[in-house]
Symmetry: C2
């Protein structure tokens, strides 16, 4: 049982050639007679030789690695984004390494250090905070960086995101149109651009409709289930409970459902619920939750494509911003009176492929 990992020297010795020849044959670059080539390949296979990526990377200054930093890997929105990133990366001979920052700036900072240390060739990040400080090491070191989902003030890089203001306005208007008036907004951390944008859109839809928002029904906090659970619970225990709840991400909607279920309240009869980012798995089983679905997979693929151009140097221009359209998926939790017909596009298909509602128009800014 081996135990010792073979190196180029071992292969060279076995094939009776020099290390340089081995390197040339295996990396495909440089000349080699078909006979020696054969010899080397044979020896490499016999030894089960795998090149040491560290040594190679140290020499070539290339790692073939792309870093992806997401705030919450168990959230299907981000797994779908990551599939998009991965598919494009792999198609271009790059591997991705995923870091889960847990919405935690300190963890994010640690990951960025690790990524720099790993000599990744580029980074795609959905930032946990609003501070540019965490990301600056990437900028000063000229490591190609692309943001997804969330913008950060003071960081001028390519970014692929949704239109938080417009999306929130659309979703809110949808609820207003359904007759709801006391609408709660369970928002994420105001540190993030999306949270601020979505609150703005929420207010705007009210203003446009000439309806005043209920300030007491607006709250912000973390993006997590538990936090939303607590906040919605408090609202429900109040004398005048909200008629509808808008959660600014899918996890917070789950928190809302938990609070409702605990109190024996039913959706949408007692309280309507709608949220951002579809929960595909749930919708597959029962298309119930009304959601503003961002094109997660497409976000990932586009972010990776932008990154590729930066890495290759194809594009050295000004930072680009791609704003993708979301799609309103009116189902039943909002109190819709629509009857869903079999075959209706009220749910999305396998997240490993671009989905129907992901044909959002690309708006370049």
């Amino acid at each position: 049982m081996g135990g010792v990992v073979p190196t180029v020297h071992d292969v060279a010795g076995r094939a009776g050639v020099s290390v340089a020849t081995v390197s040339r044959v295996l990396s495909g670059r440089g000349y080699a007679s078909s006979r020696t080539r054969e010899l080397v390949l044979q020896a490499a296979k016999e030894l089960d030789y795998v090149p040491n990526g560290m040594a190679r990377g140290l020499k070539t200054q290339r790692s073939g690695l792309i870093a992806l930093l997401v705030p919450e890997i168990v959230n299907s929105f981000y797994t779908t984004v990551s599939r998009g990133v991965e598919d494009v990366a792999n198609a271009n001979g790059l591997q991705i390494i995923v870091g889960n920052t847990d919405e935690n700036v300190a963890k994010e900072r640690a990951y960025i250090e690790l990524m720099i240390s790993s000599q990744v060739e580029g980074v795609i990040v959905a930032p946990a905070g609003s501070s540019a400080e965490t990301l600056t090491p990437l900028i000063t070191k000229n490591i190609p960086t692309v943001l997804v989902d969330r913008a950060v003030a003071g960081i001028a890089t390519d970014i692929v995101r949704g239109d938080g203001v417009a999306d929130a306005a659309t979703l809110t208007r949808h609820l207003l149109d359904l007759g709801h008036r006391r609408i709660a907004l369970i928002n994420g951390h105001l540190d993030t651009s999306v949270a601020r944008d979505r609150e703005q859109g929420f207010r705007q839809a009210h203003a446009d409709a000439g309806i005043s928002v209920h300030e007491g029904l607006i709250s912000s906090g973390t993006w997590f289930i538990d936090d939303a659970h607590g906040r919605v619970g408090a609202l429900l225990d109040d004398v005048k409970r909200p008629e509808a709840v808008v959660a600014t991400n899918n996890f917070m909607a789950i928190g809302a459902f938990r609070a409702l279920r605990e109190r024996g309240l039913s959706v949408p009869d007692d309280v309507a619920v709608a949220c951002f980012d579809d929960i595909v798995d749930a919708a597959e089983i029962d298309p119930f939750l009304t959601a503003m679905a961002q094109p997660a997979y497409t976000m990932g693929t586009l972010a990776m494509q932008l990154l590729l151009e930066r890495i290759a140097g194809t594009n050295q221009g000004e930072p680009r911003e791609i704003v993708l359209e979301s799609q309103l998926l009116p189902r039943r939790s909002g109190g819709e009176r629509l009857t869903v017909q079999p075959g209706d596009v009220t749910h999305v298909s396998t997240p490993s492929n671009a989905t129907q509602h992901e044909r959002g128009t690309v708006v370049l800014t």
Copy 2:
């Protein structure tokens, strides 16, 4: 600005000391006067110095990296496993890099090469196939390896898995008890140990009850949504459709629901459905889908703990096998006549923590 990544030399120059001193200070090993220490730290901070992991790894023969290979990263079962792995790894100063094999042996092989090349210190893998061949490079190179979820004949390593036979028997018995007789088994790839085990349990439950299985209702194929969708569809279009469908993973249940929805059939009135591996997000919104929930998070943490012992050399003994108990979550899709009370444990909580039903007894074999 910058653009050039600083090295030990830059730090040394700025601090007016030698590279050796810089290395000693920053790695914490070796002596240094508090004055020079100060100088070095200062210079490093000013330059935003981050050590080159490749160079360091090349020298120390340590990467601080753990590889995790899963067949399908968008499947919540595996994301939950990966959270478990990550939490334990991080607590021990290790980072994980995740590879998505897509149930594809070739992709798995490529990833394993990459992982070896990356000099990972250990590997946790849910194998895509039944062949030991893909994994042997890890064994011959003495890279600590732990399997999760799926066993592979001929690979003698630590493994953490569920009890496929018992779990399938329990779930099947549950459906039989509810009165279903024509039960379809939509199985995954028989290449994998779990698929074989689950079929065995399915048959056993029938035998125990003195009821014969309907061979025409048993099928196997890939673990993917689309495949299950097609197979269930064919069954439904048959003259005598099944009364119940057991999907051997959560994704295949989704495929079943798709086929049912297309045909306007309702669950459980027209056809009952149950599956392996809970879909937590869906259950949070509505605890509907009856499932045999494996303790995914715990699987991840235990696998990582076993791996840590192998890496540290604490345990050099025989391969261990940890078999975790699953929990039957009888909800409504199976045709249960239970009325679910608010507060009932019919769903699980945040997957980033060990959940209630994950208190499975640990059975050591």
